[in-house]
Symmetry: C2
Subunit: 178 residues, 2 copies
């Protein structure tokens, strides 16, 4: 049926490739298949092993590296989600005793959010296991391959930083905000 039998797993998103030889698309679909799979394994394991989610884990990770704490706004920026979401996740973590909000002396609108001692312990426990998972998931690559891809991704990431959400003009450029 398909003119391109490809080489491995047939029944996943990568098979979205039509019958073409378009390098970028094929690369993208394969890369997406890998990250989707890894992310899904991590999410599942975080849920079954620690009854938590990736956004919660990420929030704790941000706090772990800032012992001084962060404001809600700073968390929102770093996690790249809107403020309402940070409020919700923080509420949950605070109810579980893993983080605490402390009013700021100089600006009574803002809080400092920090890990509690229990939060620190819990996060470190999770982070250690999480790292083993990632090591396991990337065992398909040896150290050299990992280093190589890591270096290449730096270039891609830098490029992506300059790409706009809005598509580039395909028809008349129309004076470009004149």
């Amino acid at each position: 049926m398909s003119a391109v039998p490809d080489d491995d797993l047939p029944q996943d998103l990568e098979s979205r490739v039509i019958d073409d030889h378009h390098q970028a698309i094929k690369l993208w679909l394969r890369m997406l298949a890998c990250t989707t799979r890894i992310e899904s394994v991590v999410r599942n394991r975080l849920r079954s092993e620690f009854a938590t989610t990736l956004p919660r884990f990420d929030l704790l990770a941000q706090l772990e590296r800032e012992p001084e704490g962060l404001t809600m706004g700073e968390l929102s920026q770093r996690l790249m989600v809107t403020g309402g979401n940070v409020t919700g996740v923080t509420d949950q973590l605070e109810a579980e005793g893993l983080v605490k909000r402390t009013p700021r002396a100089n600006d009574r609108r803002a809080f400092t959010v920090q890990l509690t001692p229990a939060g620190k312990r819990q996060f470190r426990r999770m982070a250690a296991v999480h790292e083993q998972w990632v090591i396991e998931l990337f065992a398909g690559w040896n150290a050299d391959e990992k280093t190589q891809v890591y270096a290449m991704l730096a270039g891609l990431k830098k490029h992506l930083g300059g790409v706009d959400m809005a598509p580039p003009r395909r028809s008349k450029p129309k004076k470009e905000t004149a």
Copy 2:
């Protein structure tokens, strides 16, 4: 603040790296940052340019490469989502006139789902633009780099096929299902 200034974008998920030198974790976070960014650009543009979503686009793509059509169950497998979701997406696309369900002669429980002529036209229009986006997003890599990563990802993907959702036993192996 952070002992590892890293090299580029400071305020995103990659900054989830703590101050360690753990190769696999650093690689994973950088890879995730890239794919998240690309996926988010694609989702946004699909919405703003074509008022559609990635799952809808993916379903159309599956049908486009199978002119004979697919059953709901086959779509479910290929898109790696449960049946109820396929029903929902198919309902929407059918309402928009892009796909059609045809009862099967031999098994009256099942349908053949196919693109309508309008669906074919619409998908091809979207696919062409989508490919340009992906080319633009991967312009940070030259042809050699793309080829190299594509090849390496094959190995990673193959490895991931053998990784279980459940974490490997970390304590007593306990007879391993005897």
